[in-house]
């Protein structure tokens, strides 16, 4: 079994990928920018559901 096949047996997630990127590139100052943008992403995700009229009203 190759290294890749062993690695493929494990899982991965968005936040882990993001953390790995920040760690590898040592771009810690991206953290606040990303947090704020992810908060907007959360709002946008809600706005694509039936809660949209209430989310828009919150805006």
């Amino acid at each position: 079994m190759s290294e890749f096949e062993k690695a493929a047996a494990g899982g991965g997630g968005f936040l882990g990928d993001l953390w790995e990127l920040l760690r590898r590139e040592k771009k810690w100052w991206l953290i606040p920018l990303v947090i704020v943008l992810l908060a907007v992403a959360g709002l946008m995700a809600l706005a694509s559901t039936a809660a949209a009229p209430f989310i828009y009203t919150l805006f």
Partner: protein, 774 residues
């Protein structure tokens, strides 16, 4: 059995490719199914076709390989805005929504699209690694230098490396925003053609011009080193953080604003096209020499959008250091799907390549085929009059005879091509010797004002007799340009020479016969050749018949489509296109359809369907360019998540949330001010809303739609304001801080006394990194 599905999606040219035990089973671009040119949507239909071809379902897949790393691309976007803020808000505001809803979460999106039966891990490759894999692994070479050149992937825009056996390694790169592809696209935009699809037109326009802007380009726009590395002065461009490719400084340098598409082409535009083409050729030649020097390889493989510049490819082959060059036919982003899948098989799963000396692209005939029953049913359903000729020699003799008579043939055979070129499976064929062929094809078949000649398919054993190539030279995928042989050219009269030099009408210029095969000879005697051999099957046998009959081993081969459509895929689309153009004959496998025999053929309106919307001209065209690019001049369409629908489920959710809010409000007011009639009304309204949503959602639907209609515009405005606030309050101070400490991540400042602009790549990735989006 190991099945690997390769995907490219969400930017442009979505595609899917299936590799089973190392063999390319199927590959197709989504546009062929959806009929939307360069479609960027998730390639659901392409995936379905690939799986069906192999008799598999998603649960049988072992790996899904995506062609780039979205988080790295997102990091590049953030760095770009930090380099330009406070400028760049318009680009930021329109780029962020698709990223924040879809592109950042591609693992989840892909799993969602492929369904719960999918258990395979999703692998993410570097964009240029996918290109490199698509170039090297299917190539006929055991070892080769690799060059990839395109607009941009994550950060890389150009890479150099080598492939050995089952591995590839990219060792040097040029990074965004310095990009040969984007430089070419900037001139494409400036000359009035569409970015990402009009580059061919600019290349075709170049032979009409004089390259008098070369020095200006090299002096102001690009610092091109002898080793092919380059740096571009971003003071002239706006693509990095803007909605246009070029800016006012660029326009001032070249004598005016960008040309609108409907404006006439002036000599200046032709000279600009000639100039940027020459600079591109020079850069590719130098990159090729550098790749040869650092790798010591005799052969070269290439991919990336710039590798579709067949004029530059031809020069690289003739003037460069390599003995042979192989270019991935789907060199653009669609080919990334194929590269990603092969990369997993060879490099990550460590399976060796089978070296046969032949390429593994299978003529690029990797798309859908249709049975004789399918074709007959299609023709019968349309009341078509047809013959079936089961005797192939008889069929080919008939078709060769029609071609010899100057007739134009729709040619539909076998599996569809993967890649932008028609290679003999979905082609329109014609006699290249006729002086009328070119105008007829342009005006009556393609319905365009074509200033470009058509491409020749030539029997490989005759190629050097007709074109300036080595004997038996291969160009099976129509990716090399070569000059027409001197012996095949014809002398021009004084008047013809004057027309060629001075006539402002390019159509009249290109219609001057310059060789004995005028339909395929450009004004500079160049031709974009496809050599035909055994892999091209029935097309080769047809051309042998045509040659035996006429002594001409060449036919015109142009894509089977009307100019505003993708290439046809199905027999029904082929028949429709045949009937809506002036083609004389349609050959669908064994079936032969003559236009003259078709009932009602004369009554069918040919040409472009009526446009109901007002065509975009002037500022509207520019606006369309901006809005079509979704966020930046180089970040085209992207999959926005769909908005809320008005299904019963959504309405129940809406009613439930509304009811809960009203009841909580009533309870809070009751606690605060006691039970009043208002409190009762609020509570009852909540209850009624909840019950109606549950029991009779149709009653609530108008209210739901009204609420969406009223609040959505407010949300659209406010979300823009929120993004603007983020940009000015958070990004801009960070950006200003970086500038104060002279941080220049994009290398916008001209490097001082640098001998090279090549940068070493990071080197091989750890195996687990391929499972990350970053």
């Amino acid at each position: 059995m190991t099945a690997i599905l390769g995907l490219s999606a969400f930017f442009h040219d979505s595609a899917a490719c299936l590799v089973v035990d190392g063999e390319i089973v199927a590959a197709v671009q989504e546009e062929r199914f959806t009929r939307i040119k360069n479609d960027a949507a998730f390639p659901a239909r392409s995936i379905a076709y690939c799986l069906e071809t192999a008799g598999l379902t998603t649960k049988d897949l072992d790996y899904v390989a995506f062609y780039d790393k979205p988080l790295l691309k997102f990091e590049r976007l953030l760095e770009t805005y930090l380099s330009y803020a406070p400028a760049g808000l318009a680009s930021f505001s329109s780029a962020m929504p698709p990223w924040l809803t879809t592109k950042l979460f591609l693992r989840r999106v892909i799993r969602g699209e492929l369904g719960s039966a999918l258990h395979a891990p999703i692998v993410f490759l570097d964009h240029h690694e996918s290109h490199a894999a698509s170039a090297f692994f299917p190539s006929p070479f055991a070892d080769a230098a690799i060059v990839t050149v395109d607009g941009v992937g994550e950060w890389s825009t150009t890479t150099v490396g080598a492939g050995h056996g089952r591995t590839i390694a990219l060792t040097e790169e040029i990074r965004f925003p310095h990009s040969l592809g984007l430089l070419y696209s900037a001139f494409t935009y400036y000359c009035g053609f569409a970015v990402n699809s009009g580059e061919y037109k600019l290349m075709g326009l170049a032979p009409y011009g004089v390259p008098r802007y070369v020095d200006t380009i090299l002096q102001h726009l690009i610092d091109l080193k002898p080793d092919g590395s380059f740096w571009m002065d971003q003071a002239y461009f706006q693509y990095a953080a803007g909605l246009r490719m070029t800016n006012d400084r660029f326009h001032a340098l070249f004598g005016g604003p960008p040309r609108s598409p409907e404006a006439p082409l002036e000599q200046r535009h032709m000279d600009l096209a000639a100039s940027i083409q020459k600079v591109t050729e020079e850069a590719l030649l130098r990159i090729g020499r550098h790749a040869h020097a650092v790798t010591g390889q005799r052969n070269l493989v290439m991919a990336g959008g710039v590798a579709l510049n067949c004029v530059a490819n031809g020069r690289l082959l003739r003037e460069g250091p390599f003995e042979r060059i192989w270019i991935q036919p789907a060199a653009g982003d669609a080919g990334g799907a194929l590269g990603a899948a092969l990369h997993v098989w060879h490099q990550l799963l460590e399976h060796p390549r089978r070296e046969t000396g032949e390429d593994r692209q299978q003529g690029s005939y990797l798309g859908p085929a249709y049975t004789l029953d399918d074709i007959r049913a299609t023709l019968d359903a349309r009341g078509a009059v047809y013959e079936r000729l089961t005797d192939e020699p008889a069929l080919l003799d008939r078709v060769a005879g029609h071609l010899d008579d100057g007739q134009i043939v729709g040619w539909f055979q076998g599996r569809a091509e993967f890649g932008p070129r028609a290679l003999g499976a979905r082609s329109i064929l014609a006699d290249p010797r006729s002086v009328d062929t070119q105008a007829q094809l342009n005006l009556k078949i393609k319905f365009r004002e074509g200033f470009r000649p058509f491409a020749p398919s030539v029997l490989r054993e005759h190629v050097s007799e007709w074109f300036q190539t080595r004997p038996g030279e291969e160009s099976p995928y129509m990716l090399m340009v070569a000059p027409v042989a001197e012996s095949r050219r014809v002398a021009l009269s004084d008047e013809q020479a004057r027309t060629m030099r001075e006539d402002p009408d390019l159509i009249r210029r290109v219609n001057v016969p310059r060789s004995v095969v005028p339909a395929v000879t450009h004004v500079d005697y160049s031709a974009r050749i496809q050599t035909i051999d055994e892999r091209h099957g029935r097309l080769q046998r047809l051309m042998q018949r045509f040659f035996a009959r006429t002594g001409c081993p060449i036919v015109v081969n142009t894509s089977f489509n009307l100019s505003w459509e993708p290439i046809v895929l199905t027999p029904a689309e082929a028949y429709h296109t045949f009937m809506h153009s002036e083609m004389d004959l349609l050959v669908l496998e064994d079936y032969l359809v003559l236009k003259a025999n078709q009932p009602g053929a004369a009554a069918i309106v040919r040409g472009r369907p009526p446009v109901t919307a007002r065509p975009a001209t002037g500022w509207r065209w520019h606006w369309r360019q901006l809005t079509a690019s979704e966020g930046s001049a180089i970040e085209p369409v992207g999959g926005h998540r769909r908005g809320p629908d008005d299904s019963n489920r959504s309405i129940r959710q809406f009613s439930g949330i509304g009811a809960a809010l009203l009841i909580v409000l009533a309870a809070w007011r009751a606690w605060d001010a006691g039970v009043t009639s208002g409190v009762v009304r609020t509570g009852v309204t909540g209850l009624v809303l909840g019950l109606l949503g549950l029991l009779a959602p149709a009653v609530v639907r108008p209210l739901y739609r009204l609420a969406l209609a009223v609040t959505a515009p407010v949300g659209a405005v406010v979300s823009r304001l929120i993004l603007a606030a983020i940009y000015y309050v958070i990004f801009t101070p960070v950006a200003v801080g970086f500038r104060l400490v002279s941080r220049d991540e994009l290398r916008r400042q001209r490097p001082v006394a640098s001998e090279t602009h090549w940068r070493r790549t990071r080197g091989p990735r750890a195996a687990r990194d391929y499972l990350r989006q970053s």
